[in-house]
C-alpha cells in the first residue's frame, strides 16, 4: 500500500496529465537507479511516483503540491551518476525531465537555451548543426543537462575548457517552495547580487530544481588529433604531464591509462588497443584553430617525448580513428564494473598525482588488492577503482576508501573532483570537510528548502 495518498496522485495527474504520472513497482523500477556500482549503491525506495512535467510552470505546481503534502521530491536526469545522487531514499515523487528536452541555439550570442531533459548528445548535435561547439565533455552523452549542471560534471576536457560550471551563463530554476527564478541569462558579465546560480550549480538537486539553462558555445576547433604516448613505467608517464603543460601545450584532454584496464576495455568492446608497446599511456587530444598550429604542437610534443624517454607515440587524425581511441578509454568503467566495488574520484593538485598514485599502490599492497587507477592526469583527477579481485574482503572497503581519501586530502586534495557527494559519499563529509563549511551548507539548505523535501538524504550529513 502506497503512503502517497490518492488525492495527491490525482492532483499530480491534474498538473501534468494522466499519461505522465507513472506508478507501480514494475513501472518505476527503471527510474530508481543510476550507475553507482551495486556493492555500495543505496537501496532505492520503491514507494514512489514518477512524474514527467513539460514546463517550468508544471514543475512549480508539482513542488508547491509536494510542499503542501510534505512529500519528498527527487529530481532525476539521465541516471548516469556514480554516487546515488538521484536514487529515492524515501517515499515521494521522482521528477523525470524526458519531455523537457528542447534546445534552441542562438548563433549570434553563441549560446544554447536547453531544457533540463535534453541530453549531452542532443546539445553536442544541436551545437554542431549550428556550426558551433560545446567544448567540455562532461561524461556520458546520455546524461541530461539538468543533471550535468546540478552535479557540476567535469570530464576529460577540463584541462583546456573547464567543467560544466564554466559554461552555464543562466538558469531557470524552481525553488522547493515552488517559485520560479531566473538567474543570469545570455550574459557574459553579471555582477548583480550574490551569485545564486553558481551556488545551485553543483548542489546536486538539493537547493532547487533546474528547469532550463543558457549555455555558452564556442566556434569549432577545425583541427584535432589524438595521440597515444606509451611509457615503460607509470613514473615516467606521470612526470611527463607537467612538462607537456610547461612547454605551452594545452591539450583538449590529457588522460593517463594503464595497459591492463585499457586492454580489458578494448576486449570488452571487441576492439584492439592500437598501441602494442608500453605499460602506461598518456592519451593527448589536441584541438587547434589550424592544421599548422596542430602540427607545430605535434613537433614540440615529439621532441618532448624524446626528452622524457617515452616509447614511439602514435597519432590518430581521422574522426573515426580518434573516436576509436576515445571509445576504448570511455568504456574502461563499463568493462571493470562487473568486478567493481567503487569508483573514486579523489583529486589532488596536478603536480601531486605521482605521489598520490604511489600512495594508492602502497594501500593496494597493504590490503593485498588491485586498485586500477586512470583518469584526467592534467587535472589531478585520478579514478581509483576498488575491485572485488585478488583476495578482496568487503569488510576492508571503508578502510581502503578512507585511506585513499586521506592520501588525497593529505596532499591538499579533495575526496571528489567531479562525481559529487550524492548518497554514497555523504558519510565522508563530516570526516573530510571543515565543520564550519558543513554548518554553512546546512543553513543554506534550510533557507532554500525549509521543509527538506528536495532530494533529502543527499550531500549533507
Amino acid at each position: 500500500m502506497s503512503s502517497l495518498s490518492l488525492d495527491f496522485i490525482e492532483k499530480l495527474k491534474a498538473i501534468v496529465g494522466e499519461d505522465w504520472v507513472v506508478q507501480g513497482e514494475d513501472l518505476v523500477a527503471s527510474y530508481v537507479l543510476d550507475e553507482t556500482p551495486p556493492p555500495i549503491r543505496p537501496q532505492p525506495h520503491l514507494d514512489v511516483v514518477v512524474v514527467k512535467p513539460d514546463s517550468s510552470e508544471e514543475v512549480s505546481e508539482i513542488l508547491k503540491l509536494a510542499n503542501q503534502y510534505n512529500t519528498s521530491v527527487f529530481p532525476r536526469g539521465g541516471g548516469t551518476g556514480l554516487v546515488g545522487g538521484c536514487i529515492p531514499t524515501a517515499s515521494g515523487v521522482i521528477l523525470s525531465f524526458e519531455r523537457m528536452n528542447r534546445i534552441i541555439v542562438d548563433r549570434d550570442n553563441l549560446m544554447a537555451e536547453a531544457e533540463a531533459g535534453a541530453t549531452l548528445r542532443d546539445l553536442l548535435n544541436a551545437s554542431d548543426e549550428a556550426g558551433l561547439f560545446f567544448p567540455p565533455h562532461p561524461g556520458d552523452e546520455g546524461a541530461q543537462i539538468g543533471g550535468l549542471i546540478a552535479c557540476n560534471a567535469g570530464g576529460s576536457r577540463a584541462i583546456k575548457t573547464g567543467v560544466m560550471r564554466n559554461y552555464v551563463r543562466g538558469l531557470e530554476v524552481v525553488l522547493p517552495t515552488g517559485e520560479i527564478l531566473k538567474l543570469g541569462g545570455k550574459l557574459l558579465k553579471n555582477n548583480f547580487g550574490f551569485d545564486l546560480m553558481q551556488l545551485i550549480i553543483g548542489s546536486e538537486g538539493t537547493l532547487a530544481v533546474i528547469a532550463k539553462a543558457w549555455i555558452r558555445l564556442y566556434p569549432k576547433f577545425p583541427a584535432t588529433a589524438t595521440l597515444i604516448i606509451p611509457f615503460e613505467s607509470r613514473t615516467t608517464a606521470v612526470k611527463a604531464v607537467p612538462k607537456i603543460l610547461h612547454a605551452g601545450i594545452l591539450p583538449l584532454a590529457l588522460e593517463y591509462v594503464e595497459k591492463i584496464p585499457i586492454e580489458r576495455s578494448a576486449e570488452h568492446l571487441g576492439l584492439k588497443w592500437p598501441c602494442r608497446v608500453g605499460e602506461s599511456f598518456l592519451i593527448v587530444i589536441l584541438a587547434e584553430q589550424s592544421n599548422e598550429a596542430l602540427y607545430s604542437q605535434c613537433e614540440r610534443l615529439l621532441s618532448l617525448c624524446e626528452e622524457f624517454g617515452s616509447l614511439e607515440p602514435l597519432l590518430a587524425e581521422s574522426r573515426e580513428e580518434q573516436e576509436y581511441i576515445l571509445k576504448i578509454r570511455s568504456e574502461i568503467y563499463s568493462s571493470l564494473k562487473p568486478d567493481m566495488v567503487d569508483i573514486l574520484d579523489a583529486t589532488v593538485p596536478p603536480a601531486s598525482i605521482g605521489f598520490f598514485m604511489d600512495e594508492v599502490e602502497r594501500i593496494a599492497k597493504r590490503y593485498n588488492t588491485y586498485l586500477p587507477s586512470y583518469g584526467h592526469a592534467a587535472d589531478g583527477n585520478i579514478h581509483v577503482h576498488i575491485m572485488k579481485e585478488q583476495g578482496w574482503r568487503m569488510e576492508d572497503y571503508d578502510k581502503v576508501r578512507d585511506e585513499i581519501y586521506a592520501a588525497a586530502v593529505g596532499l591538499d586534495g579533495t575526496i571528489t573532483g567531479e562525481h559529487g557527494v550524492g548518497a554514497v559519499r555523504r558519510k565522508s563529509v563530516d570526516k573530510f570537510l571543515n565543520p564550519t563549511h558543513v554548518k554553512l551548507m546546512k543553513e543554506i539548505k534550510r533557507i532554500f528548502d525549509p521543509k527538506n523535501i528536495l532530494n533529502p538524504g543527499k550531500v549533507l550529513p
Binding site: K272, P274, C275
Partner: protein, 266 residues
C-alpha cells in the same frame, strides 16, 4: 627497391561519411559539410600491403586519383608505411565514372611498370559501387578476387585467400593479380607521430593526363571516357520516433488499426 612483393595500393579521398550532409532537394552530397579522409576500406587495403611487406618483404606504392587536396591521404599512407606515393590529378580526369576511373588508374599502373599485386578496398563509402577494383584488373588483363576477408597464405607468386560474398570461398590466385579487401581482414594500424611528421615533408609524385599519354588514350579519361552519368541521388527520408498512448477498452483495436495503416501488419 627491396626484394619481395611489388604492391600497388589504390586509395581515394572521400568526405567523412559519418558527418556529411545530403542536399535532398538537389539530390547531391554537400561535400563542404564534412572533412575529407581516406576511404576507410582503403586503410584495410594499405594495412594488408604493409603486413605483406613485413612478413615476406616488399615495396608499397600508393596511387590516388583526385583533386590536389587528395595529397593529404597519400601523406597519411606514407606515414602508415607506404614507400612511394603518386597523385593523378588533372582537370581531364574530372567527372569520371567507374569505367573512366578504373581506366585511368590502370593506365597509371602501366606507367609504373612492374607489379605483383594490386590491393583496393572493397568499395568507397561515397560511391558504394565496388566496381573500380575489378575493372582495373580487367583493363590490365590480370586475375582478381573481390571481398577478400582473410589471407590464408602468401608466397611471391601466389596467394590463398578467403573471399566473402555472402558465402565464403577459398580461392588461390596466381600473381600478378588484384584483390579487394573487406573491413574484416585486419585493423589498420595507427601511424607513429614521427612518421606523420616525416610524411608531411615527403615527396609526392604528381602525374597529369599528359604524363599518361604514352600509356593510354586521353579520350578514355574523365567525363569524356565515362559511359554513365549520375542524374540525381535520392535519399530515403528519416522518420523520427513517435509515442502514442491508447486508453480504454478499445485500446487494442486502435493499436491494431494504427499498425495496419502503417503497413506493419496485413
Amino acid at each position: 627497391m627491396n626484394s619481395g612483393l611489388r604492391i600497388i595500393v589504390l586509395i581515394k579521398q572521400v568526405p567523412d561519411i559519418g558527418k556529411v550532409k545530403f542536399n535532398v532537394e538537389e539530390g547531391r552530397i554537400d561535400r563542404s559539410s564534412a572533412s575529407l579522409e581516406t576511404n576507410p576500406f582503403d586503410l584495410n587495403a594499405l594495412e594488408t600491403a604493409i603486413q605483406f611487406k613485413e612478413h615476406i618483404g616488399g615495396y608499397v606504392t600508393v596511387v590516388s586519383m583526385g583533386p590536389p587536396q587528395a595529397e593529404s591521404s597519400l601523406r597519411d599512407a606514407l606515414a602508415r608505411g607506404a614507400d612511394r606515393a603518386i597523385l593523378l590529378t588533372d582537370k581531364f580526369f574530372a567527372g569520371a565514372d567507374t569505367l573512366a576511373t578504373s581506366y585511368t588508374l590502370a593506365t597509371a599502373i602501366r606507367k609504373i611498370g612492374f607489379f605483383d599485386l594490386i590491393i583496393c578496398g572493397e568499395k568507397t563509402v561515397d560511391g558504394d559501387t565496388g566496381q573500380v577494383g575489378p575493372e582495373v584488373a580487367e583493363h590490365l588483363n590480370i586475375p582478381h578476387v573481390a571481398y577478400v576477408c582473410e589471407i590464408r597464405s602468401a608466397t611471391l607468386d601466389r596467394l590463398l585467400v578467403v573471399s566473402d560474398m555472402g558465402d565464403k570461398y577459398l580461392i588461390e590466385v596466381k600473381l600478378p593479380a588484384l584483390i579487394t579487401v573487406t573491413k574484416d581482414i585486419n585493423t589498420p594500424r595507427l601511424p607513429t607521430l614521427r612518421n606523420v611528421l616525416k610524411a608531411k615533408k615527403a615527396n609526392i609524385e604528381v602525374w597529369s593526363a599528359d604524363d599518361l599519354a604514352d600509356y593510354g588514350e586521353l579520350c578514355r579519361f574523365g567525363l569524356q571516357g565515362s559511359m554513365t552519368t549520375v542524374f540525381k541521388i535520392v535519399f530515403p527520408s528519416e522518420e523520427g520516433r513517435r509515442g502514442l498512448i491508447f486508453h480504454g477498452e478499445d485500446a487494442v483495436e486502435k493499436l491494431v488499426e494504427v499498425l495496419r495503416e502503417r503497413g506493419f501488419i496485413a
